[in-house]
């Protein structure tokens, strides 16, 4: 699995996201309270850019009228038709087995000795790195 520098850490502060092209792949990277998540930046439905979607929490119910809210900011809704995807897995909420978008492992590192296509790698600072 190769590592690819996708962005500088300071480019994606908590609560934001970016869309980057890495080795020919469009990747949406989300920062949720310092934790990074990477999804293929295309809804499996019709290709809407997930990087432009609104993030919400996970809403579950054990009965009607019950709204169990958890994992704030970890569910993105496609801007086109509202489909929800779990930032941790790329799986859709309505049919997680059949409908999902690719999920990428992300890590933060100093980027030393790594090639970067779209980021100007300087000698100082940390980088967000996509693995695939």
């Amino acid at each position: 699995m190769a590592k690819h520098i996708a962005a500088k850490v300071e480019d994606i502060p908590p609560g934001t996201r970016v869309s980057v092209e890495v080795a020919g792949r469009k990747v949406a990277i989300f920062n949720v309270d310092g934790e990074y998540f990477g999804l293929r930046d295309a809804c499996p439905h019709m290709g809407g850019l997930l990087s432009e979607g609104v993030v919400i929490g996970l809403v579950e119910a054990n009965k009607p009228g019950c709204y169990n809210y958890s994992r704030g900011g970890e569910i993105v809704r496609c801007p086109w038709h509202g489909w929800e995807f779990d930032l941790r897995t790329g799986k859709s909420r309505f049919d997680p087995k059949r409908w999902k978008t690719h999920s990428y492992d992300i890590e933060v590192g100093d980027g030393k000795e790594m090639h970067a296509e779209t980021v100007d790698v300087s000698t100082e600072g940390d980088y967000v790195i996509v693995k695939f």
Binding site: I56, V59, E60, A61, N62, K63, P64, G65, C66, Y67, N68, R77, H81, G82, W83, E84, S92, R93, F94, D95
Partner: protein
């Protein structure tokens, strides 16, 4: 069109209350006095006007009185006529139209006692639905508990158009009582006329009213699913009566499409609406609203992705077909057997108990 196989179970036929006088012996003393003192007239609704051809097939129409009011004729024309093993009486009388909860409750009790005495006691092949007053769901639940003791009552009966969409929690005491007693809820075409019968306002012609019924069923089914009736009452079955059925796959695809994007509004809807309907919803086949060519009907049935949803109904004495041709062309013999026998037995546990 084929005949139903002998021994079919007819899930919708209509004995008629001949006149309000027939119910007087079954009303409480107070309400009997009130009917007379207030001059309460017949509680027939405009859903089935007497002269509308659909209301009575010509050969089932008596010279005098209403079609379906005479047991001897119903026995000969519907039960012997189709060779049915059981037939479920859905009595359409204007109980649901009344504005007073108390009088509606009194009439519901009277109609149920009248059905038990005048029909079920006299004809062992007949079963019946419990008429309830949705004006007060607690009263309706009490009536379900009262009548459910009699195992010949196999279902609860409501009209598709009431004060509000039937999924609302206001109605849940009815569903709770139905589930508790192991009874499906039958939802029949018709209206309490609290609102126009179309969602865009009052129509001009009877044909518009009739055609609009399937829209009401679509909206009602949507309400039951989105409000979470089947999540709250996982054992509940709903039977749509005189609903047509051709609309179901297309409507639920449409609902499913919106559910995918708006799932978080109704998180208790945990799977596609069609999957929920396959588990909980059944539909009677008359009046038949599917395509006339057998090949097209086969394709349509495939879209249900289930052979368990359709139930045979004669809809006696309403006029939708001639002779015994109550089964549309294009339904295989195997599916006919499911529709006429297996599916009704699975839907109505009390019929199954009677068979075994």
């Amino acid at each position: 069109m084929p005949y139903p196989p002998v021994g079919a179970i007819d899930c919708d036929l209509h004995p008629a209350v001949p006149s309000i006088k027939a119910l007087l012996p079954y009303l409480d003393d107070h309400w009997r006095d009130m009917v007379i003192q207030r001059g309460v007239h017949e509680l027939d609704s405009i859903s089935y006007p007497k002269n509308a051809p659909i209301s009575a097939r010509p050969d089932w129409k008596p010279e005098v009185g209403k079609a379906g009011q005479d047991l001897v004729r119903l026995r000969k024309e519907a039960l012997d006529g189709f060779g049915t093993k059981f037939a479920i009486c859905n009595c359409l009388y204007g109980v649901q139209l009344l504005y007073t909860e108390d009088m509606a409750y009194a009439f519901a009790r009277a109609v149920n006692d009248w059905i038990a005495t005048e029909w079920l006691d006299k004809e062992p092949r007949l079963r019946a639905s419990i008429v309830v007053s949705p004006q007060n769901p607690d009263y309706a639940a009490a009536e379900i508990d009262r009548m459910a003791v009699d195992k010949r009552f196999v279902q609860v009966l409501m009209l598709v158009m009431d004060e509000m969409p039937l999924g609302r929690r206001r109605y849940w005491p009815i569903y709770r009582a139905a589930e508790r007693n192991g009874l499906p809820v039958g939802i029949h075409a018709g209206s309490a006329y609290r609102h126009p019968v179309t969602s865009v306002g009052w129509p001009t012609y009877y044909a518009e009213d009739s055609a609009a019924q399937s829209q009401a069923f679509q909206t009602t089914l949507t309400s039951l699913i989105t409000e979470g009736v089947f999540a709250e009452f996982p054992e509940l079955k709903v039977v749509l009566l005189e609903s047509g059925f051709a609309w179901l796959p297309a409507h639920l695809w449409r609902l499913g499409k919106f559910w995918r994007g708006l799932r978080m509004e109704t998180p208790w809807v945990d799977r596609h609406p069609l999957e929920i309907a396959k588990d909980h919803v059944r539909l009677t086949i008359q009046p038949y609203d599917a395509p006339p060519r057998p090949d097209d009907l086969e394709k349509l049935i495939e879209h249900f992705d289930s052979d368990e949803m359709l139930l045979f109904s004669s809809d006696y004495p309403h006029w939708h077909y001639e002779g015994n041709n109550a089964i549309p062309d294009g339904i295989s013999r195997a599916l006919q057997n499911k529709i006429c026998y297996d599916n009704p037995l699975a839907t109505y546990p009390r019929l199954k108990e009677a068979v075994t």
